[in-house]
């Protein structure tokens, strides 16, 4: 399948102080091609697309766009040339409506009424129904992404860059997105698709460029490779998959009964009548699309949010009214999703961050005074046992890469020998080998008799490690089901379907 090249990249190099983010990267994307950019965190994918989008200027190398030299000085220039980008993190204002948000991204927005009808047209053509008058704060994550996509499509781009677009979508929503992308492709739009979800790439993309440590290590057709082969090219080593263990369930370790909790923020999700039990030795997976109450559920279990006394029972004893440290003392530990600023303080050292949650269970406070030597020793223990790559415990948490900090955060809780551990998104944005290590550690913890609750949006992860599965949808938790033998479709339906989206009717409408 050789198509004329739309964008050619030749020897792009960008160095930051202390690290070469991109080193002589060359590849090309054909017209109407869906090209995947694969790589672990820190492989240089973001820097590369930022250079294509004009956010970062390369130190060396050239680009061509439709045969002419292309060196965007700013995203405006890139957009004028025909390059559009959907970012992983949305830049939308929750208090404004859809049309207003779209208008904010335009240089010369048309009158609101005209814009609203344009939005309707584009969204219908591509099977992305969107009401321009709705407040963004009321939209689901999938719908917010549609706003971003429609915003790009209004510019009629020739190249659409998508950064990890499916991380916030249900399987059904992913299917709809893929239909939309295929329709765009059939109209001749090229797509540069960044992801580390290999099955998706194999289903969608015609070509793939694999980056490792800033260099291109392979270019291939992902449909001809297995997911495992792709993963090993990404990591550059053979991949260890977590090993399942024998099942030995004990007594009920944690039970939640009829937990209702109002969210503190107006755009948060309140928890509604949540009831579930977890047994010793069990891994309970809780799936759900972002923003369906995951943060609130973790907060209610960690003790950051107070619940009614009897709504949460730890080993039969009521703990709902207790704060985080009282719960830690009893053996209920948690690791939140956001590593920087929630699980860890970025500007504080690893020693201080070790003391942050471990001081109660590790006896690091005597008469109110902190035992810094003990904290340092504990930080060193976590670093050693969980293979955290860092010069030492005196290093600031914010200086660690995402995967390393996540290993530290999870390790910090596991080494405190919890009775119940609750983790939210334990491997989000973590490279494949670190993710495997973290999952294995969670399984080992359960094998030692602890109850583990894994809240995650990564369904593959949940399927891989959980014994039972429950879905969190708009603050309600479904009844748990046995995780073995569950198909993605069943899970998708449990997650609340596709929020009323419809698949693009390719070919039914005339192109815009």
């Amino acid at each position: 399948m050789s198509r004329p090249d739309l964008i050619g990249i030749d020897g792009l190099t960008k160095a930051y102080p202390g690290v070469v983010a991109n080193d002589g990267v060359s590849f090309s994307v054909g017209r109407g091609e869906v090209h995947a950019l694969l790589g672990e965190n820190g492989a240089g994918k973001s820097t590369l697309v930022k250079m294509i989008y004009g956010l970062v200027k390369p130190d060396a190398g050239q680009m061509t766009f439709a045969g002419t030299p292309y060196a965007p000085g700013s995203p405006n220039e890139a957009r004028a040339t025909g390059v559009a980008m959907v970012f992983q993190h949305f830049s939308l204002f929750e208090a404004l409506d859809v049309a207003e948000n779209v208008a904010l991204g335009m240089e010369n927005p048309p009158p609101m009424r005209a814009l609203a009808s344009q939005i309707r047209d584009v969204s219908e053509t591509y099977g992305l129904p969107l009401d321009p008058t709705r407040l963004v704060g009321d939209l689901s994550a999938g719908e917010r992404q549609r706003v971003e996509i429609v915003r790009c499509l209004l510019q009629d781009p020739k190249l659409l860059i998508m950064d990890e677009p499916t991380s916030v979508l249900t399987p059904q929503e992913v299917e709809i997105l893929f239909e939309t992308l295929r329709k765009l492709q059939s109209e001749g739009t090229s797509i540069l698709y960044i992801s580390h979800k290999l099955e998706e790439i194999r289903a969608l993309c015609d070509g793939a460029t694999i980056l490792r440590l800033g260099k291109v290590v392979a270019t291939c057709d992902p449909r001809e490779r297995s997911a495992r082969e792709l993963a090993e090219m990404m990591v550059g080593a053979e991949l260890r998959t977590p090993t399942a263990r024998s099942h030995a369930m004990g007594d009920v370790a944690l039970s939640i009964k009829g937990l209702n909790l109002r969210s503190a923020s107006p755009f948060g999700t309140s928890l509604k009548d949540i009831s579930i039990e977890v047994r010793e030795g069990e891994v309970l997976g809780i799936g759900g699309v972002a923003g369906n109450g995951q943060d609130e559920l973790l907060g209610a279990l960690s003790g950051e949010l107070r619940a009614p006394r009897d709504a949460i029972l730890l080993g039969g004893a009521p703990v709902g009214h207790l704060g985080p440290n009282a719960r830690r003392k009893l053996g209920l530990l948690a690791a939140p999703e956001e590593r920087l600023g929630h699980a860890a303080a970025p500007n504080m050292s690893l020693t201080e961050n070790a003391a942050l949650t471990a001081h109660t269970r590790k006896g690091l406070v005597r008469n109110g005074f902190l035992d810094w030597q003990g904290a340092r020793a504990y930080a060193e223990e976590v670093i050693r046992d969980f293979d955290v790559r860092t010069p030492g415990p005196g290093n600031a948490a914010g200086a660690l890469s995402g995967g390393n900090l996540q290993k530290f955060v999870i390790g910090r809780e596991i080494l405190q020998k919890p009775k119940v551990l609750v983790v939210n998104q334990p491997t989000w944005g973590v490279d494949a080998s670190a993710a495997a290590a973290i999952r294995q550690a969670l399984l080992d913890l359960a094998a030692e008799g602890a109850a583990v609750i894994v809240i995650s949006q990564d369904l593959d992860e949940i399927m891989e490690i959980s014994d039972r599965f429950a879905a969190l949808n708009e603050g309600r938790l479904s009844a748990p089901v046995d995780a073995r033998g569950l198909t993605l479709e069943q899970i998708g339906l449990m997650l609340g379907g596709a929020h009323g989206m419809e698949v693009a009717h390719v070919g039914e409408e005339t192109a815009i």
């Binding site: 200027k57 704060g323 929630h342 303080a345 970025p346 500007n347 109110g368």
Partner: protein
């Protein structure tokens, strides 16, 4: 074109260097201002920074140095603990006044009984309690009704000033003062006086308290769980909550402690250098201490040094007013410049300056 590039981690070197650079920049800009006022800039700067320490009348000024630095350091230490946690007590001036009033009132209530072992400690307690209670007003309003502690504490300064005026004209007025406003002079009341401990040094109990506060704060911040919680809350409030810090308790602790220390400073001042409650008793220590706290990088040792430096500009400024005829507003502007430059150069701690063009984001 000059650009700022964010540093990966804050520069340690610059965080120590910025106060020095700020002092030098203040000297240059201040010198230009003095020159614009028609004074010899070199002589003005020398009068402010050099003469009080090494000039002809240094024997007098050196004592004054500790007298001025004592309350500044004492107040700034308390403020810095709150600032570290992101709790902005701007009303130390009011807490200082209320501490002075309460402490002096305790002393005056015993007049003319002579029992220093009882009266002076009670006055110290009174001073601390007065400042503490005054700071509890913004504290409780913030924790109960989520009001802004910056506004409430600041506005309470003006309330305290009115109470001060009322006290010196009414309740606490010296009955033997021939109707003049102002209380009895506590320095002439043996049991209540906070006199120099070593003649000629300026060392009084307030200075001792300031030094103790420096050591106390240093240990609190570096070793104690409370200090850890304060730093953690300032760094990352969400992580602090996750670590089990109760934000309301922390707010009350920080406001209460800074209020108590400001109140102590007020008491030592009214019983010592000032001598009496009068309408113009307060001279802005509570506000200047905010500058001192930041100039000292919110670090106890830094505050000790910054307090001495700021006291020097006070004393030197007064000397420059009398000997060179500089207006007092010019001296205040000069002190303000110090904070301005400090905050401006602070950018260098988090950013590095680059020259030349690059694609803007």
């Amino acid at each position: 074109m000059i650009r700022l590039e964010k540093r990966a981690a804050p520069s340690r070197t610059w965080s120590y260097l910025t106060p020095l650079v700020a002092v030098i920049a203040t000297m240059i800009a201040g010198g230009l201002m003095f020159a614009a006022l028609g004074k010899d800039p070199v002589e003005a700067i020398r009068t402010i920074f050099w003469d009080p320490l090494f000039g002809e009348f240094a024997f007098y000024y050196r004592g004054q140095l500790l007298v001025k630095a004592g309350p500044l350091i004492l107040i700034a230490i308390g403020l810095a603990l709150g600032f570290r946690a992101g709790i902005w007590n701007i009303g130390a001036e009011g807490q200082y006044i209320m501490g002075a009033i309460c402490g002096a009132a305790v002393g005056l209530a015993f007049y003319p009984m002579e029992a220093r072992w009882l009266i002076f400690p009670l006055m110290i307690l009174g001073g601390a309690v007065g400042g503490f209670l005054w700071a509890m007003i913004p504290g409780i309003l913030k924790t109960r009704f989520n009001t802004n502690e910056i506004l409430v504490s600041l506005l309470l300064v003006y309330v305290a000033e009115q109470i001060l005026a009322s006290m010196s004209l009414g309740l606490l007025r010296n009955p033997e003062g021939a109707g003049f406003p102002g209380s009895r002079n506590l320095r002439q009341y043996e049991s209540a006086a906070n006199n120099e401990l070593i003649a000629g040094t300026g060392m009084h109990w307030g200075v001792v308290a300031a030094l103790i506060a420096v050591i106390f704060a240093y240990i609190l911040l570096s070793r104690h769980i409370m200090g850890f919680n304060i730093r953690l809350t300032g760094e990352s409030p969400r992580a602090a909550r996750f670590a089990g810090v109760n934000p309301n308790r922390l707010i009350l602790f920080c406001l209460g402690l800074s209020g108590a220390l400001a109140g102590l400073a007020g008491l030592f001042e009214v019983a010592g250098p000032a001598g009496q409650i009068s309408i113009d008793f307060n001279v802005g220590y509570g506000f200047t201490a905010i500058i001192v706290a930041f100039l000292g990088r919110l670090h106890p040792i830094g505050i000790l040094l910054a307090g001495l430096l700021m006291a020097l500009t006070y004393i030197g400024g007064e000397a420059a007013q009398s000997s060179l005829g500089l207006p007092s507003a010019a001296i205040q502007a000069f002190q303000g410049m110090l904070l301005f430059f400090l905050l401006a150069f602070d950018v260098l701690t988090h950013f590095r300056v680059k020259f030349g063009r690059e694609a803007a984001a």
